[in-house]
């Protein structure tokens, strides 16, 4: 493939791809995402490939990233019609192929409502999918992440073409600011103002970075996006670099996911080959390159300054200086860091405009949010809904409620730096500020359902245990404060609580929260704070009883 020299050449090439594809030709998309892969979707894909090969061009088989409904993997979607088959085994393959060739449906493999037995064949009828707005993850079943042409076929890189050929960097920045895109990595900080800070910083050399570390426990949507549709994030990053005036980008991601690494490496190489990265991108005069970096496997390496030190080749310790990384980051150059999902939102904002984007979501939180659903939920998986969606929709309509007919006790958001709210707050809308006020900030979007049997002291102990291992250990309030909190919580769960434990914990939460160097320590007491707000009697009873059984 020769490098594409201009926007027009890219559009011509896209037209060629589309002309070569027949939308009526059946395509079988087999999910190879992490969850389905764990259920040996590879064997299913291999069976489809083997059975499809002798059929020549009558049928196409595609392996893709996560479709979303991980609970029911291995997942298979057949187009046209988006027919969803669940829990597909290699033995089911001949039947699916035969039915597909005849334009029929294998009834026994489609969705059946667990209560009524009612069938749902097409994606937009399956309860898990039909309450979602899948602007970001919706393309996953349509794309083989190893093929840039698949991304181009769904309109990929059209936003980059628009930005480079019709907009100035300032106009791009303006659009993102108007869209009020807020960071998806935990803080909800407006991306546009961060971009602007880096753009306006005096240094000429600037960097843009994708935070794909995703260390938050119970969060798995960033890897679903990055593995399933790497070009979308890359396109967002290139557009951001153009707006900010950065010459170089970094993708910082997990070291422990071979498929993710393979897809991202391949995407970078293909983008370069096509002329979407490197010198003089699409003849626009704008040059930009991206380097891939891997994390060191502790949670704190996702923190902005620790991540940047890690990219420099140093241990991932947060930097204690009082200066923002957007002004002085990697090698003291202005460095703009955004989360995977934040970058993934950029192309559609440029293609469809800020006005369209702000029409989705709640008053202060715009667009959709990817949520990882897990815990005691019927349907675990990656979900995408407009901001402002009531938690009830997420938990019951999409999630199918609590497993094993149990009742809901609490909803936990944001992993070890998040919080738990009781079931009676289920009508709260999914919103950055609203959820923070309730004490369960969305964080990166890991939603954990907890049923009636959940021991809230144990939950806090578990999360604290996680953090004591995942902090860097540099500063006293975090390292020592968490160690002491963990010891006290462990004692309480062992039925050896003492008078004064709650006061000790409250003192530690307060001091650790104010005095710690980075946000890991500062927010490490947040789960516990939410417990004291909503579940304090459970702690008191546990300490008073002095026994291992909750009252």
């Amino acid at each position: 493939m020769p490098r594409l020299q201009s926007a027009a050449e890219l559009e011509k090439y896209r037209a060629q791809i589309l002309a070569g594809r027949n939308p009526a030709k059946p395509c079988i998309a087999v999910c190879a995402g992490a969850a389905c892969d764990g259920m040996d979707s590879a064997a299913v894909a291999a069976a489809f490939v083997a059975a499809g090969a002798p059929l020549g061009d009558k049928i196409e088989v595609r392996t893709t990233g996560c479709h979303g409904y991980c609970e029911k993997g291995p997942n298979v979607v057949v187009t046209p019609g988006d027919i969803c088959y669940f829990e597909v085994q290699p033995a089911d393959v001949p039947e699916i192929i035969a039915a597909t060739l005849k334009g029929e449906v294998v009834e026994r493999l489609v969705y059946h409502d667990p209560n009524t037995g009612a069938k749902a064949v097409h994606m937009n009828e399956v309860p898990f999918y039909k309450h979602q707005t899948r602007l970001l993850i919706g393309d996953n079943p349509k794309i083989d992440p190893m093929r840039i042409d698949d991304y181009l076929a769904v309109g990929g890189y059209a936003a980059l073409v628009k930005a480079l050929s019709e907009m100035t960097p300032d106009q791009v920045l303006d659009e993102v600011k108007k869209a009020n895109l807020r960071g998806r990595g935990g803080g909800g900080f407006p991306a546009g103002s961060k971009w602007e800070t880096t753009k306006n910083a005096p240094e000429k050399i600037k960097y843009v970075i994708v935070n794909g570390h995703e260390g938050e426990s119970a969060a798995f949507m960033d890897r679903a996006m990055l593995t399933g549709n790497p070009h979308k994030i890359l396109e967002g990053l290139i557009i951001g670099a153009y707006a900010i005036g950065a010459q170089k980008g970094f993708m910082y991601t997990r070291h422990d996911m071979p498929l993710l690494e393979k897809h991202v490496r391949n995407a970078l190489a293909q983008a370069k080959e096509y002329g979407l990265l490197g010198e003089n991108i699409l003849g626009s005069g704008f040059s930009f390159d991206v380097e891939l970096h891997f994390d060191v496997g502790i949670f704190v390496s996702g923190e902005s300054s620790a991540l940047m030190r890690s990219i420099e080749g140093n241990p991932p310790e947060p930097r204690p200086k009082y200066i923002r990384t957007s002004v002085s980051g990697i090698w003291d150059k202005p460095s703009n860091l955004n989360n995977v999902e934040t970058w993934a939102n950029v192309p559609q904002i440029i293609s469809k405009g800020a006005e369209w984007f702000t029409s989705i979501g709640s008053e202060k939180s715009k667009g959709t949010k990817l949520i990882s659903l897990s815990g005691n939920v019927v349907n675990s998986g990656v979900v995408e809904v407009p901001m402002g969606t009531p938690l009830r929709t997420l938990v019951f309509d999409i999630g199918g409620g609590v497993r094993d007919g149990k009742t809901l006790k609490a909803i936990h958001f944001g992993g070890a730096m998040g919080g738990s709210i009781p079931a009676d707050l289920i009508d709260a809308p999914l919103d950055f500020d609203g959820m923070s006020k309730l004490g369960a900030p969305i964080g990166a979007g890991g939603l954990l359902l907890m049923d009636e049997d959940t021991d809230m002291v144990e939950v806090a102990r578990y999360l604290m245990d996680f953090l004591t291992k995942e902090s860097c250990g540099k500063c006293v309030p975090c390292r020592e404060g968490m160690k002491q909190m963990l010891q006290i919580l462990t004692r309480i769960t062992e039925g050896k609580g003492q008078q004064g434990d709650l006061e000790r914990l409250e003192d530690l939460i307060q001091v650790t929260g104010v005095a710690s160097l980075c946000a890991l320590g500062k927010t490490s007491g947040d789960p516990l704070k939410s417990m004291f707000r909503y579940f304090k009697p459970e702690y008191e009873a546990r300490i008073a009883a002095g026994s291992g059984e909750p009252k």
Partner: protein, 221 residues
């Protein structure tokens, strides 16, 4: 060249741009406790004992003075009920490791810390990093380093380097607020390269001289 005026504990203090609040305070004879700070080393921000209250444009925040840059018209309070409580608890946490370290015992008196408040884990090292950073930044030998993260972080001598460098130097021993550095070295020596010293041990007087050359506590009032 004094170009910034700020207020520390009700006193107008003049400082140069680029100075930290700690430096400005020390210059004005105002004492702020520190543990991980050393004037020859890059600021670390680890112990958090030097935390002060800063009021700026109506906002109150808590910052470590060894890193926070001076700014025009900020109001700094080196003591307040909240600041004192932070120090009290931090000292209690440190005493769990080194209950008899003189510096800590002295501070505990000042801030009313209870040395028995938290579960003991007498590991003696408080991970201030003075030994590690001194060996790195001043001696450029890296004979002692941090290992591991989080709650299991520790310092350790690297035998291959320690064998060659430490006995002749020993400068970090005097910096250590808990005397763990020396103990850790001797243990490393006993385990990794026993009986290989080339010169006799330094006298107490030698060490004291060295430690005076590298003061660790800021000039008090």
């Amino acid at each position: 060249m004094t170009d910034i005026v700020l207020n520390i504990d009700g006193k107008e203090v003049k400082a140069k741009a680029g100075m930290t609040v700690l430096e400005a305070a020390q210059q004005a004879g105002i004492y702020i406790p520190t543990l991980c700070h050393h004037e020859k080393l890059e600021a670390f921000g680890g112990c958090r004992l030097c935390m002060v209250e800063v009021e700026s444009r109506g906002w109150t925040s808590y910052v470590v003075s060894c890193l926070y840059p001076v700014a025009k018209d900020i109001v700094v309070r080196t003591r307040s009920p909240k600041v004192d409580n932070i120090r009290k608890v931090l000292i209690e946490e440190l005493l769990a490791h080194a209950p008899d370290a003189p510096e800590l015992v002295k501070m505990a008196e000042e801030y009313g810390s209870d040395r028995n408040r938290f579960a003991r884990e007498a590991s003696f090292c408080v991970l201030c990093g003075l030994c590690v950073r001194y060996c790195d930044e001043v001696k450029q030998k890296n004979a002692v380093s941090f290992f591991d993260n989080g709650s299991v972080r520790q310092i350790a001598f690297v035998p291959e380097v320690a064998k060659k460098e430490c006995w002749e130097c020993q400068e970090c021993f005097a910096l250590c607020p808990t005397s763990y550095a020396q103990a850790a070295y001797l243990l490393t020596e006993a385990l990794a390269f026993p009986g290989q010293r080339k010169t006799p041990a330094k006298s107490a007087k030698d060490l004291a001289l060295k430690s005076r050359m590298i003061p660790i506590t800021p000039v008090a009032m």
